[in-house]
Structure formats: structure tokens, C-alpha cells
Symmetry: C2
Amino acid sequence: MRRTVFYISDGTGITAETIGHSVLTQFGAIDFDTHRIPFVNDEEQAHGAVAKIRNAQASTGTRSIVINTVVEPALSEILATSGALMLDVFAPFIGPLERELDLKRESRVGQAHGLVDFQEYETRINATNYAMSHDDGIDVNYSDAELILVGVSRSGKTPTCLYLALHFGVRAANYPLTEEDLERQEIPQRLRAHRARLFGLTIDPQRLQQVRQARRPNSRYATIEQCRMEVAEAEKLFRREAIPVLSTTNTSIEEIASKVLSKLGINKHLY
Amino acid sequence: MRRTVFYISDGTGITAETIGHSVLTQFGAIDFDTHRIPFVNDEEQAHGAVAKIRNAQASTGTRSIVINTVVEPALSEILATSGALMLDVFAPFIGPLERELDLKRESRVGQAHGLVDFQEYETRINATNYAMSHDDGIDVNYSDAELILVGVSRSGKTPTCLYLALHFGVRAANYPLTEEDLERQEIPQRLRAHRARLFGLTIDPQRLQQVRQARRPNSRYATIEQCRMEVAEAEKLFRREAIPVLSTTNTSIEEIASKVLSKLGINKHLY
């Protein structure tokens, strides 16, 4: 069984797709053919979307499903003329919120998604630059870091730092544990002053071996023995030093980022 | 007027917060005090969340608002005992989808958000590594790039490449235009073979000046004259070479990323 799904938005369509993905995974028996239609913010765009939906319905012979995050009711009405099953993300919230707050919503198309203010943009960009320049642990000054991820090579530190920067504007540095650190079972001196901001990442050795093998095939670095040794020693070190730790195996980057912030008590909001 | 808002999720809470942010910006007169409660995936966690909501309501004397993306109905019922205004993101979709598909949803807590498969994770991580190692334009081999962002220094190329990698798994490289390129009004030879994958970013010169000034105060690089000259020459070059172009001024990273994919006809889905 196959269905066509359209994620339609007056912004990027990223929110619509995220929500749609969460909902549709609950109907695993269906093969969904998904399409994003972003930046539907005038009547012409809305009619264009309707034409695409009608085409899909004509060619598949089934009703399409629309996950809609367009804010303006007049545009949603146009979209509804397609005959698709309309699933509105925001519409069901507006009535209850207006009654609860005793206030009418202000219609400002696009503002919900786009047009970020300068300060927010700056914070994200600066944090991203910070993550990129504090990535390898060499010659890095950690004094400005809001948090420091510690782990063996390829345990997931870099993408997590970048995600924290891009989405939360958090200045996240990382420190790759060296064989010397693992042998000595000590974190290096220059990290000691920042102990409260350290967070350990670990990973299943077999998974680590896969990742390293893809990166440097048939190196000592990618042998299962080396991966097992490094992970075991790193986990021992985290326990010894009482550094909180999380396994990145089977965990999405979003989930790792969210858990790290939560465990370190950093209450930053999404941009 | 002030209201407390809780973003509650069985996953990271990032979807709940994104949606909540979009909805709440339509009520600009209210000062919302927002909190994320992630990983509510058992009854104990749900009761813990209820206690937090009740505390907030007792201390502020107003009803709290809950934006809820918890999938399991039994847990949502517990959350509702808090007396807060419950705004369920997924619940309104389930009935219509079950009827439309003639199928019951499968209850699998957490699956909607977490536990990504190995292949997806690999694609994102590889794309992120790719973006980081193809960032400065020096000694970069562009043959593997799915797209190449071109622009003057600080026009928004790096964060956009990282966003494309982390969210869409797209291998995005970037090339910073040099003064020589601008003078010659030509893209370098090694980019010519990839012309169809080039995308230009531009930026308002005053905004560029602000960004550069923050980075290298009082340098020639950060003068308004230099910024005006570079932007004018870059825009002229994009026209000459017929490279599609987008201004990053007042545009969020999500929006830039989404528009670039859309204009280059790359139909990648979110991870």
C-alpha cells in the first residue's frame, strides 16, 4: 500500500516534515511517498501546490495526505480544495489558545518560521565557528566553553558539538582522548579546571569498529581489539573521574544533544 | 502578561519546542516562560512532569500551557491531570489517519523520535565530516560534492553547509571567493566542471560589515568600503556566470538550506 504525502509550509517545511515523519512512522504498513512544498506564502503558491496534489491523486488513483503548517487560514482553505486529507498542525491550537489567553492571534505570515533577529543568528554562527575551531583538542583553549565533550576518536563528539551550536547556540568544545590519557587513566591537566562542564561520550565497540573501518580501512585504528580496548579504558576513566557519560550507539544526534544539555543542567532554548 | 509553557515529549522535545515557538509567536502580547521536559516515556516521568506543572501553576497563579508530543495516549492522560491547557500535536492526526488508511496506528513509544538506523546516522556523520573538510576552498577536491556554495568570506556558507549535512545528509562543499576571483570576474577553473552544482550566497554589505567587525575589529576586511566592493563584485560575478543566488540577510539557516536544495532540484529528506 502506497500513499503520497505533501509537507506544505509557508516557511521551510522542515517542521511539517519532522511532525509528519513522527506521525507516519506509526503506520509502518504503508509505503509513503513524501514531498516537501516550502514557501507557500501567497495565493499563487497555494494554487500551485493544489495543482501538484491533484496531479498526484490523478496519477496514483488515491487521495493524498497533506501535513500543513501554513499559518494563514485563507491559504489553508485554498489547499483544502485539492480534496486531500488535510492535517493542520497549527490550526487546532489557535482556538484553545485564543480562549485561554483571551486574545486574538496576530496574523503575520512567515514570521513563525523565517526572519530571525540578528542577535539569534549571531549566537548560532558564533557557536558554530567556536565548535569548528575547538574540535581537535590540539592547542584548544577551553575557558570559553559552555561544555566539553570527551571521548575516543569517532564516538560522536563533532556532530554533537555542531548540532548544539547550530540549534541551541551553545559553545561546545570537544576533547579526543589520546592513548596516553587512557594509559594514565587521567584527564589532562588543562581539562581539570573545567571538570563541571565535561561530558563523556561512549559507543559500542563493534559499532565503533564499523565507523572506523569505513574511515580508515584495515588500519590498526579500525581493529575490533583496538576499539574494545579504547572503549573499555575510556569508560573506566569516566567512572574514575566521575564524568557523566552517554552511549551514542543507536542514539540520534538530536537525542544526544538534548540529553547532554539536560544532564549538565544547561537550559538553552532552540533557535 | 506572563504564562508558563511546557514542551513535553517522549523524545528530545525539539519538535514540541519548534511547533510551540511557531504558535506562540502569534501571541506577541504575552511573555511566555518556556521549559522543555524531554524523555517522558514512562508513568514515573509523566507524574514527575505533572508535579513540575502543578508547582508552576501554584507559584504563578495562572494555568500553564503544555505543548505535548508524547505519542502514548496513557501518558498523555497522566499529563492532563495537571490541569494545564493541553495542546496535543499528534493526537488530532491519529483518528483521521486511521480512518483514511483503514488501519490502526502501531504504538511504539520513542520510535517516532529516537533510534535512528545505522545507515541514516552514517550518512549524516559522513556528510558532516565532508562539510568540515571541504570548508576553506584550499586543496579541496569538489568532485564528490552534491552542491558547492560560493560567496565572499562571512556570507553564511559554512553554517549552511553544516546544516545541510546534519539534517539532510547532503555533501555540501563551499568555496570562498578570493579578491583575485572578484577582479578577474571569473570562477576558478576547478569549479567550472561543477557549474550545475554551484550556488551563490550574498549578503547586505552593512550586515557583512557588522559580522566581520565582530570577528576582526578594525581590519581592512571589516571596513564598509571593502564589504560593499566585495558584495558588488560577487553579485556581478554570479550574474555573469549565471549562478543562482540568494541573500542570507535576515534569513534563517534552515531557510537558506531549504531554498538552496529547492533551487538546485535536490529532493533530499530530513533525517
